[in-house]
Each structure stands twice: as structure tokens, then as C-alpha cells.
Chain length 314, copies 2
């Protein structure tokens, strides 16, 4: 389901490093060369390149990139080049430090990654920021959002396939009761969403639909503009249909005047090795336009080329 295109025969790591070094040196930077290499290597290959580059040139690859390019292009190349766990740590740190209620990055990371991936991001967070992710969220986020987001990122969800049907029924009923009484910040809602396994939650949401005649997210739309309710809906969408969740993030990033480059870069760099193909399909279906064309229409220059490379354009 990835869109990343890695050539059938990949050059030796030393050659990639040499080419990148050339791209950075001399008058001007060879942006196309950077994209042609980094935009077509998977996570393990990029990791090997970073290691070999630092050994060969006594300088971190990311530092060379930062020195040579800038703006949205720089951000896209840096985020992409990072290991997935490090990238999540960086995105989560930005989200925690400059937190505001409309920010869904923490929800995305907590709910669309596997348990092992969330934990790897938390380990990378320690290493990079000398603090824990939950510590920073707890210190910067307040009120109901803190009550929800701290356990959301701290949980290590069981990820086996087992589902307890009786539990799904009783917890669907419990969720319905709380939502019916508009007790959206109730401890029980938070407990269920932040501790149950994904298969268990999907069973609960399905039963909710069966028993009460409509999806739980419809009932959470009482006030469509309320950011806390939007966050609850994002959590549920990230669990039940991550591709459509990300399609919407991309759509909103592109729609209207101006582009939300930060969101667009995030969706493309975090999903290119995961499910960007599905997101593209969902985008085409929803907007009657291929995502590549929409991206090309809204971005330009090297930034555009980098995104299109990750979107799988030949």
C-alpha cells in the first residue's frame, strides 16, 4: 500500500553518499539529485545512507541538508529522511510544545501506528529531547485535552486479534449512555478509547452502529465546531478508517486559498511507506481528481517534485 518507488537495483550506499555530497557542494545545490536519491530509498536504506554519510564526511546528513536547502522543501526532505520513529518524535514534540486544540498530530501518532511503533517513537523522544513525550504533553496541554491525550499516547495497547463480544456490547452501551447525556469528557469514554485494543474498539463501534442505528461519530457531532468533539471523532476515524482520515487531512490542506504545507508534508512523508496508495484512492474517489494533480496544482518547485516523488510519480 506504499507509494514509495525504490529502483530495482539500488546503488551501493557509498555511491549514494558521494552523489549527495556532490549535490550539496559547489555553487548552488543540485536539488533534483537529492530528490532522485532520498526520494527513492526506503527507511532502512536511508538509515544506512545517514550512517555512511556521517562516517565519510564527519558531518550529519541532516545538517548538510539543512545548510543547503530551506523552507517547505527542506522540511519535507528532513522529515522524510528521518527514521519513522524519530520523525514521529519530532512531530509529537512540535505538537506538544505549540499545542492548540485544533492540532491532531498527537491523535494521529497515537492511533494510526502499531503499539510497537508508538513505543519506538516514545523511545526516540527520550533520546532526542531528554524528556518523555507524556511529560511534555502533560506540562503543555491542559484541561479536558490533557485528560484525553496523555493516556492516549501513554498506552501500550494489546495488539492481538482477540475480541470480547460481550465487552464490546457493554462498552458500546456505556459509550452511548455517556454521549446521550453529553458527558463527552467522562472518565469511562476516555478509559475505553485509551486502553482497549484496536480490534476490540472496532467491535465496540460496530455494535454501537447495530444497536443504536447510527455510527458513534454521528452522535459525536452535536456541536460540529467543538474541538474536543472533533478530537474524539479523529481518534475514532484513525482507528476505523485511517486512509479516509488522512484523505481528509490532505483535502483540507489543499482546499481553499493557500495550502497547509505542514499538514500536506506530514501526510505524505508519514504515509508514503505505509498506506499512501489507499489514501490516493480515497482522494480520487472523494474529489474526482488524482491527489498528485491536486498537489501539483497547489505546490511548486523542488517541494512539489519531492512530494510527487513520494507520491510514486515515475
Amino acid at each position: 500500500m506504499a507509494t514509495l518507488k525504490v529502483p530495482a537495483t539500488v546503488p551501493p550506499v557509498a555511491d549514494d553518499c558521494e552523489q549527495l555530497r556532490k549535490a550539496f557542494q559547489g555553487w548552488g545545490t543540485n536539488e533534483a539529485l537529492i530528490i532522485s536519491i532520498l526520494g527513492h530509498r526506503d527507511a532502512a536504506q536511508r538509515r544506512a545512507i545517514r550512517r555512511a554519510y556521517a562516517e565519510a564526511h564527519g558531518e550529519e546528513l541532516l545538517r548538510s541538508i539543512t545548510d543547503e536547502i530551506s523552507g517547505d522543501f527542506e522540511r519535507a526532505v528532513i522529515l522524510w529522511t528521518l527514521d519513522p520513529a524519530e520523525r514521529d518524535a519530532v512531530l509529537a514534540n512540535e505538537a506538544a510544545r505549540k499545542w492548540q486544540p485544533a492540532n491532531r498530530v498527537l491523535v494521529e501518532i497515537a492511533c494510526t501506528r502499531t503499539s510497537a511503533q508508538v513505543f519506538a517513537a516514545r523511545q526516540a523522544y527520550h533520546e532526542r529531547f531528554k524528556r518523555s513525550l507524556e511529560e511534555d504533553i502533560a506540562a503543555h496541554v491542559t484541561g479536558d485535552f490533557r485528560k484525553l491525550l496523555v493516556p492516549l499516547v501513554s498506552t501500550y495497547r494489546y495488539d492481538g486479534p482477540e475480541v470480547n463480544t460481550r465487552l464490546a456490547h457493554s462498552e458500546a452501551k456505556l459509550l452511548h449512555e455517556k454521549i446521550h447525556h453529553k458527558a463527552y469528557t467522562d472518565d469511562e469514554i476516555i478509559r475505553i478509547l485509551t486502553t482497549r485494543s484496536k480490534p476490540q474498539l472496532l467491535a465496540t463501534f460496530n455494535h454501537y452502529n447495530d444497536a443504536f442505528g447510527h455510527r458513534i461519530n454521528k452522535d459525536l457531532k452535536a456541536d460540529p465546531k467543538d474541538e474536543y468533539l472533533k478530537t474524539l471523532r479523529a481518534i475514532i476515524r484513525c482507528f476505523s478508517c485511517p486512509d479516509r482520515y488522512f484523505e481528509k487531512v490532505a483535502r483540507q490542506a489543499i482546499a481553499g486559498l493557500g495550502t497547509d504545507e505542514s499538514a500536506l508534508t506530514r501526510v505524505i512523508t508519514t504515509r508514503a511507506e505505509v498506506d499512501l496508495k489507499l489514501i490516493k484512492e480515497a482522494y480520487q474517489k472523494r474529489n474526482s481528481v488524482p491527489l498528485e494533480r491536486a498537489v501539483a496544482g497547489d505546490t511548486s518547485g523542488d517541494y512539489e517534485s519531492m512530494l510527487l516523488a513520494l507520491l510514486g510519480q515515475e
Copy 2:
């Protein structure tokens, strides 16, 4: 700081398995032989014995043990033989399922293990119980205790040595304010205790002492019998003086009529490879009696022999 005594030359794993098999077979069980082997092997050696035993005899070692011995002796041998992470998972599961306010096992596991050890216990919990530890605690524990214990076990504390002195000062002040207003269940107290690193917390507790003239635990003794306050004090003691914390658990297990075998077995099996030597020193200092003598006076038979072996008796 461990008390476990492993012989200078350990027999090959196959010999240990053979001897254990012999101890189980025939009329009656050779308990002394079981103790002489398992009571003198470290975690890696016990793991190797379990693996080799299952391969050689087509039966789990723990199952053979359970079939042959019983009562407190059985529990001590089983808990000891388990890997530390598995043992913590088993203890935490019992504590979560049969939770009652006086139970401090979850606090002990969350606060006296390293971050990596707590996480290993959470992984072992998934494997063994097909659920997550925080899920079970959240489902069985209620009210203020849930508010405290779920984040306490879910956190992945940063464990580097860095301390932010200014933060220690401001959070000591914040703790003092909340405690002064008897707001013991306040979100900020829980946030600080459940997210900050241990070195950071120790700096905060030290500053509390310096700034307000007495230890934080003294201020948390307003109602000495309140179990929630006792839990807060246990958390702080587990961070600041685990050896004295465990000395007290052992002392209370032994003191008075009857023995709390469950607590005594837990302290000895979980600390024999960690800091039981320090706990013994603290016990001698506090009670003017060696811990071995107190244990020998309060227990008997094979159970006594097993505990004394782990306490390092020649």
C-alpha cells in the same frame, strides 16, 4: 547488592534439567534438590533451564513444579523461576484483578523498576494475558486510585540523569500548595508523580524539604490511615529509598501474629537479584535482628529453606 548465591562452577544446563526431573519423579518429591538448583541460578540460567527442560521432557518446568509442590513453597519457587518481567506481569495481574486500596504491588512495580523493566513487564503482560496492564487496571480500579495508578504504570519515564533545577523548585512549590490545601487528588500532583523522571523527582522532593522545612511525606501524613495518602507516600518512598520501602514491607509481613507470606515471598523473589543485601542491612538496622533470623522464626519447612537460599544463606 544481590543476595543470590550462584556456585562458582555451574553444572551444564542439561544436568540441571536431569536433576530437576529426578527431584519430581518417583514417590515423593526431593524439595531440597529443587532448592539447591533453582535457588542458586540467576535469571539467564533459569531461563536456559526452562527452555532446555521443555525441550527434553515435552512439559513446561513450571507445570512440573506446580504438579509436585504446593502452598507457599510452590508460590515462592514459581515466582522466583519466572523471568523478572513475567513475574512482574503475574504480580501486576493479580493486583489489578483483586484490587483493593491497601495493595501496593502496582506502585512497587511502577516505581522501583527501571523504565525499560516496566515496559518489559507490560510486554510480558500482553503475551500472557492477551490484554494490556493499563486496560485491566482501568477496568478494575475506580475513582481516585484509578486516576493515579493508570498513568503510573503507563508512563515511560525518561531515565537520563538530567535535572532541571528551576522546574524542581516550581514543582516543589506546586506540590506544597496542593498538599497544603489538602488537594491530594489534584491533577497536578498526579501529573508530576506520574511523568517526571526519577532524578527530577528526587530534586523536587529535596527542594521541598529545603524550602518548607520537612519532608513531603510528613505533609502527606495528615490522616495516617487514609489508603490514598498511604499510596502517595509509598510512591515517594519507592522513588527515594526503595531499600527502606521494602524493609518496611518485610517488617510488616513478619510482625505480629501470623505472617503475610504473599508479601514476604514477593519482596524476596523480586529483590534477591537486585538489592536484597541493602534491604537486609536496613532490616538489621531497624529491627536489631538479621532478616534471615526473622524469616526463619516466622516460616518453616521447604518454604523457609527456599527463602533462606534466596536471602543468601550458605
